[in-house]
């Protein structure tokens, strides 16, 4: 197995830098904020949007929606303020990339946000950071303060007529706050019940105003797209799904961690080369490629390019690129039950199928795990998951159901093996 050509690390540049990039002086000395200064001085917001569109950047939060196109949906001339929200509520099990960016290079994010806010005509941006990320919150607060002191945030930034300011908001610890409209509700001080769409946030978001929600890594990418140009970005990885990408590898590997690699790097390379292979010399059994909510892949499916389209073509999703590796000894029933428990615990309880289905799935899986399940339970799991897919306001219900169907499809024998012995 050979490693793909790995250009310089961009998003994780802090790893190759001796000075602490949390310190704004070091960040500026390293060339930081020069891009924001130049773009706000020279380019129109429309040019920024066009540049991002041209780069082919797709959202790193999970859905892979083209960022420039999303920005283009912002309702114009409504007389209302436009808001940029940075989704830093990173909570998908198996995902831990945004935390790294926040804790080690906060100004990269802030600069990306200044550029993005400028592009969409937003003078006020928010970073909604996961409640448990207390350290990251403190770092961001200090970084925002420092940027403000330098005239990079606030009124007339970089000595232009433009204003962009950032508020850092600490969440209170619920997975659903990472769903963009749940995040908006939470930021408004309400229960994070995702909103029905339409209207979409770009038309009616935070406080009823046009709003764009972007993931941390996406916004960090914007900083580099604007610095190095769209051609550079598009030149990395597959044409339709380009750019540098952070992959989080966890589970049964020798070197778990976050790896910055070109989009489209093969899953096998990721596991065997970058993450040091399956731990303890065991064989690979399965991989979840994009966070706990996406369909699982079996060991024979890992010769797969890790980009949005290729993983989708393989029946799963790149999602948040949270790669969870499982070795041959993994108990699939227990694993699925653990995942089901998570979604049961995190369902906001708003929509009927998710509120009732997540608990039902866990109940059945607990029964299977304890060896008291029946074959009927397996069929019930299928149909419960079926009823949960595509029938709710947000994607949490799908996120809870998709793993179930894929685990049952690919590891049916493990589930059959867990059934209670039929007497007689």
């Amino acid at each position: 197995m050979t490693e793909s050509a790995n250009p310089e690390r961009v998003l994780l540049h802090y790893l190759d830098q001796e000075s602490d990039l949390c310190d704004i002086e070091n960040y500026v000395a390293d060339g930081g904020y020069a891009t924001a200064r130049r773009v706000l001085g020279d380019m129109s917001p429309g040019d920024v949007i066009d540049t991002v569109k041209e780069s082919g950047l797709r959202g790193r939060g999970g859905a892979g929606f083209p960022t420039g196109m999303k920005w283009g949906f912002v309702a114009r001339d409504t007389g209302k303020p436009v808001y940029l929200l940075c989704n830093a509520d990173e909570s998908e099990p198996g995902t831990f990339k945004d935390r790294l960016l926040i804790e080690n290079d906060p100004h990269q994010l802030i600069e990306g946000m200044i550029l993005s806010a400028y592009a969409i005509g937003s003078e006020k941006a928010f970073i909604y950071i996961r409640g448990e990320f207390r350290k990251g919150y403190d770092i961001l607060c200090r970084a925002v303060e420092a940027a403000r002191a330098q005239g990079f945030l606030g009124e007339k930034i970089f000595a232009t007529e433009h204003a962009v300011d950032i508020v850092v908001h600490l969440g209170a610890g619920a997975y659903i706050c990472g769903e963009e409209t749940g995040l908006i509700e939470s930021l408004e001080g309400k229960r994070a019940h995702p909103r029905i769409k339409p209207p979409f946030p770009a038309v009616q978001g935070l406080f009823g105003c046009p709003t764009i929600v972007n993931n941390v890594e996406t916004l960090a990418c914007v900083r580099h797209v604007m610095e190095k140009g769209p051609a550079w970005f598009k030149g990395i990885g597959p044409e339709r799904s380009p750019g540098p990408k952070l992959f989080c590898v966890s589970g049964h590997v020798n070197k778990p961690g976050v790896f910055e690699l070109p989009m489209g790097t093969s899953l096998r390379e990721l596991i065997e080369v970058h993450a040091g292979g399956v731990a303890n010399g065991r064989a690979l059994k399965a991989v979840i490629p994009g966070g706990s909510s996406v369909p699982i892949l079996s060991a024979d499916e890992v010769d797969l390019a890790m980009d949005f389209d290729s993983v989708a073509a393989a029946g799963s999703m790149l999602g948040s690129a949270g790669v969870i590796v499982m070795d041959e000894d993994t108990d699939m029933v227990a694993t699925l039950r653990t995942i089901a428990h998570f979604y049961h615990h995190e369902s906001c309880g708003q929509c009927t199928p998710c509120r009732e289905g997540t608990g039902w799935l866990e109940t059945i899986l607990l029964r299977l795990e304890s060896g008291e399940g029946t074959e009927g339970d397996i069929e019930t799991l299928y149909s419960v998951a079926g009823g949960m897919m595509g029938t709710t306001i947000c994607a949490l219900s799908d996120a809870a159901a998709m793993p179930v169907r894929s685990f049952l499809d690919k590891f049916r024998d493990d589930f059959l093996g867990s059934l209670a012995a039929v007497e007689g």
Partner: protein, 498 residues
Amino acid sequence: MPRVTFNGIDVEVEAGSNLIDAAEAAGHEIPHYCYHPGLSVAGNCRMCLVEIKALSDKQDKPLPKLQIACNTVVQDGMIAESNNDRVAEAGRSVLEFLLINHPIDCPICDQAGECKLQEYYMEYGGYESRVDLDEKVLKAKATPIGPDVMLDQERCILCTRCVRFLDEVTGTHELTINERGDHTLLSLTEGAVLDNPYATNVVDICPVGALTSRKFRFQSRVWYLSSDDTICPGCATGCSIEVHSRGSEIFRVKPRNNPEVNGYWMCDYGRRVPSLLQGGERLSAHLKREQGRFLTRPVRTAVQYAASLLKDAGPVAVIVSPELSQEEAELLKQVAGLLGGEGCLVFRCEKPAFDDDELLISADRFPNQQGLQVLGMRSADGPPLDCSLAIVAGCDPAAAGPQWTDWLEGLDGLLVLDSHKTVTAAYADCLLAIATHFESGGTFINKDGLRQSFEAAISPPGDAVEGRVVLGWLVEELGSVAGVSASTTALESRLASA
């Protein structure tokens, strides 16, 4: 107006309406729980999923996912379907999700018979439960949350209709959603009591038996009740209501949608009006005083006696209540005209005071004050001392103190028409027993000048007769003397057929 095809039927519906309303226009009900036309769209129950074959003229591709009809605003050329297997399966599945943790309370639940869970369960089937009883999530049962509302958290399907009502209509926010997943609870907000003047509307809009009326609980199975439409006589707003009764007993009152007056709501005071109006000691016979004793008389005899008592004996004061219907008031005005005197004077009984609010409650506590004003009737500031004969209809001036009792005592003749044994009745020479509002048809003119007709919901007790009928006979008796019998005969036949 946009044209929509629903289940193959073309309908034209008002712009801005949703698919649930469009389907209704096409003669199809789309099952739903959380949607209520008087509240914002929540879209949480997921029962109204339908298939969109084309969004509009311009977007004629089918949408890949089923869509909730409540949040789908119609567009010209929209094609939607609910009568296919895919939609039926989605509905069946949502209903099963709703039922897996629902308690099997139907035999003891007040909502039985008017419960949307029961109705759709019967319709969709799925009678075989796939969840063991001991696997159900348990929550708090019968918990009083206000003077009239009982909450059963297990029965709640978390549609948030009640929460939205209290947020959007009353703005009082007593109820909220707590916890998550299948442990989600509908509960009172901290320190709140559900005691606002419109609280019981949450019982009406609850599609299941989670919120029940403490007054109505266990009083009657709903299928034994008959429903009649009338107008609430509780104040000058004149809300459209339904009266639910069995025999001559009223069990409850519910608001009836009237966009011009009350929308979907009514106040809690209005719900108490039947017990206030139907309670107390009723008059069920027509009485004539003879040598200090009351004797029962058939109604026509009693009316004849009343006429003989009053006619050609001097000016007659007619004291009327603003709770009488317009028909009764008009006949009393005719009576006053036939007998000479000051015309009709309006007497207002003591009533609990209310301030006007922004919703429905009017400080004018009488349902037909406007109507009496239209007829030119003025207020009785005190007893009309220059009259020695009087008719008192539907009110009780004797209860207002000695100023009135002294006058009543000194009268040469007094006819009282009332449904109840009032203080004034004791002074009467003739008593005609009339029906209450809920036992009568008629018309009120509300505070905004809107004329609203109503019909009787229940029958009056004993010999009591609707006031408009008795007064028609009285006009006839008096008129035959004055030579107007022809017109009153016509009136009587109209009233008799009413």
